[in-house]
């Protein structure tokens, strides 16, 4: 477990070298198909991420927040969810929205600048990504309170980062979740950085330890180990469904890329750190494991490679041809009901733009 940087408390089922290990409290047994599915999802998410990064460089996207290195934490936790559970992601959880079934172009639309959302949250039971750090933790709790009021067996997962744990909202989410015993899982991806700040600027203790003081369990898991993340999240979701309340999961992982495409991490972190984490790559370790076990072979991997290419092409072509919304779209859906000012301003813009057409200027 030493190679994970996790500390003794961290749950691991697959070492960085791809060896399957057992844990006294957390077991998982997956079919070969399920295991291949995890590898496939992580691989495709990584490809999507790379493609989006490239598209941003080409000026096709305004920004991209890469999830490189965090695929296991995201794909593993999302795979633990039932279809009727609800995810509350941040801007970085592409692996979560992918597993929830959000179409890749819908995931990119916000970064393309054609919408502030991108998909129908209720269809995929995946909320739009929240940018204001910490806000969504409370949404997840409120949603879970609703589940409870419904007497349903669903659960909610609120995602956030290590930096977010400093925010009032996240701590209030802990308070509310505990007091109402809400069926919610807090999935904190500790990717070691909040832009330029190491986790040590947000906390003096391992983050998972924060939970006990609020009255619910906290668990640290190797966030680069998809099996462990899935096992631990399943366990936490089962607790939620059983009426045992919230759990905080600290998925110990690493942000391999810059914070976003606007960021320059060479200003604040050392290349050697990145190198150490490259040795703990979440995808490679699963590939090695599955290859060793004979669960994947070259033809599967080639097929996956092919599928990645296809996804890349689809994303490239799709983003490039994504139409800009009409100017009037900014007035749509601001209110559900009639609003005279909105209508008047919409007319104002229409008339103003029409005046150019008449003059043949635009």
């Amino acid at each position: 477990m030493d190679d994970s940087g996790l500390g003794a408390a961290g749950v691991q089922l697959l070492t960085a070298r791809g060896e399957r290990v057992e844990h006294p409290d957390f077991a998982i047994s997956l079919t070969d198909d399920e295991l291949r599915g995890l590898l496939r999802d992580m691989t495709l998410v990584r490809r999507l991420d790379a493609e989006a990064t490239a598209l941003q460089r080409q000026g096709e996207l305004g920004l991209w927040a890469s999830c490189l290195g965090q695929e296991a934490a995201q794909v593993g936790s999302a795979h633990a969810m039932a279809a009727s559970d609800y995810a509350f992601p941040t801007y970085r959880e592409h692996g979560v929205s992918w597993v929830r079934g959000v179409p890749p172009l819908d995931m990119l639309a916000m970064l393309r600048g054609v919408t502030n959302g991108g998909w129908d949250p209720n269809r995929y039971r995946c909320a739009p990504s929240v940018i204001v750090i910490g806000n969504q933790a409370l949404h997840a709790v409120g949603y879970a309170m609703g589940i409870q009021l419904d007497g349903s067996q669903d659960a909610a997962i609120g995602y956030f980062g290590d930096g977010a744990t400093a925010q009032g909202d996240v701590n209030e989410a802990f308070v509310f979740a505990a007091v109402f015993n809400a069926p919610v899982v807090f999935l904190c991806q500790n990717n070691q950085w909040a832009i330029s700040q190491p986790t040590g600027r947000q906390t003096r203790t391992p983050l998972f330890e924060r939970a006990a003081g609020f009255g619910f369990p906290g668990i640290r898991v190797d966030g680069n180990d998809v099996l462990a993340v899935m096992a631990v999240t399943r366990h936490a979701l089962a607790r939620a469904r059983a009426g045992e309340g919230p759990t905080l999961i600290e998925a110990f992982t690493y942000r391999m890329a810059a914070h976003t495409t606007s960021d320059d991490p060479t200003r604040y972190r050392e290349a050697v750190e990145l190198e150490a984490w490259r040795q703990r790559d979440p995808i490679e370790r699963l590939r090695v494991h599955l290859a060793n076990e004979g669960i994947v072979d070259d033809s599967f991997l080639e097929g996956l490679q092919q599928e990645s290419e296809t996804l890349g092409e689809l994303v490239r072509a799709g983003v490039r041809s994504m139409p800009d919304p009409e100017p009037g779209a900014m007035f749509d859906h601001v209110y559900a009901e009639w609003h005279p000012e909105i209508e008047a301003q919409r007319d104002e813009v229409d008339a103003y733009l029409a005046s150019f057409v008449e003059e043949g200027v635009r």
Binding site: G117, N135, L138, G142, Y143, D169, A173, A336
Partner: protein
């Protein structure tokens, strides 16, 4: 409180009218839940939710931990799950911890999801001064919310309006900041509960202003706690004939009603308790100056609180517009 469900109008306070309105909303829709600090056994510090937890249960009238951002943030999640949360902020000065959730999430989530998610959240806030309270208990934050696209802002001025508009606010699929003029909580008025305030015929009602007094020389636009003051001023004014318009809806504002009045009076005074600078009065003055430019006999005059923190209560009578200050404003537009 017999008769509230019958056809006889009943006299009650605004706090009681709100209580009845909330009760109706709870009866109407099982997804309506009340959430706030001390709203259960205590019935809220103003007793507006008195008895509701007892009658509807702890899962319909939910006491919250002491955290306003938590209350509003959790309400967003409840709304996403299909609930219709009605929140109580204990006082005006305690809504600010929730400002981020209100501005960044409540106001924007519907637009963000292109209509896929509605947030039928009502945020009740007892607001305004005049009750001799300590600091943070007399704020008038309406301009902050009116300046925030995606929100609606309502304020009732009498028990009947409170009974009707609280139900309309809750039934609205838009988020509504519902400002309750706390010093009018104990004012009594007749409430006729026989008409259904959700009747489509009444539906646009809460976004419409009400002309409460007809006059020919000056129009006064006011809302919430200042309505009674302005009506008293209008009655006290000997020579000048004053028309009084109660906005009810502070965002959007029913400008057609104001314009129609100013077309007759050619003079406008806007009255509010909130500080003057960048307050709602400025917006109203600007809009009417635009639409009635050639008609106005005098600049639109504002009678408002001053641009200082709400003063300690021994000074509040000097901060708050009262009958004399309203009439002074009327004098100014008449003698311009």
């Amino acid at each position: 409180m017999a008769g509230i469900d019958g056809h006889e109008p009943v006299t009650m306070t605004m706090a009681q009218a709100l209580n009845h309105g909330l009760r109706r909303a709870l009866e109407r829709d099982a997804k309506t839940v009340l959430f706030g600090e001390d709203i259960g056994r205590l019935g809220g510090v103003f007793r507006v939710t008195d008895g509701l937890q007892k009658d509807f249960g702890e899962h319909r009238v939910i006491d919250a931990p002491l955290a306003e951002s938590g209350i509003v943030g959790a309400a967003v999640g409840l709304a996403m799950r299909g609930y219709r949360p009605v929140l109580e902020m204990q006082f005006d000065g305690f809504v600010y911890p929730a400002f981020d959730q209100i501005v960044s999430q409540v106001a924007k989530l519907r637009r963000r999801t292109e209509g896929a998610i509605s947030l039928p959240i009502t945020i009740r806030i007892p607001y305004g001064g005049g009750i001799g309270a300590v600091e943070h208990h007399s704020e008038s934050p309406e301009a902050y919310f009116a300046h925030t696209p995606g929100l609606r802002v309502l304020t009732p001025s009498d028990p009947q309006a409170a009974f009707d508009t609280i139900q309309q606010a809750i039934a609205s699929d838009d988020p509504v900041i519902y400002l309750e003029p706390k010093r009018r909580y104990w004012d009594k008025g007749s409430v006729d509960a026989s008409a259904d305030p959700l009747d489509p015929a009444m539906a646009p009602y809460p976004w419409r202003a009400r002309t409460l007094r007809v006059g020919s020389d000056v129009t006064i636009v006011c809302y919430g706690p200042m309505v009674r003051t302005c009506l008293e001023a209008a009655r006290a004014s000997g020579e000048v004939s004053i028309e009084v318009i109660d906005l009810q809806s502070l965002s959007p504002v029913d400008y057609d009603a104001i314009v129609a009045s100013v077309e007759r009076t050619a003079r406008l005074v806007v009255v509010h308790e909130a500080s003057r600078n960048a307050g709602l009065g400025a917006e109203i003055a600007t809009r009417i100056s635009e639409r009635c430019f050639t008609m106005l006999e005098a600049p639109v005059t504002r009678v408002t609180g001053y641009d200082v923190p709400y003063p300690p209560n021994r000074l509040e009578e000097f901060f708050l517009p009262d009958l004399d200050r309203v009439l002074d404003g009327v004098d100014r537009v008449m003698s311009y």
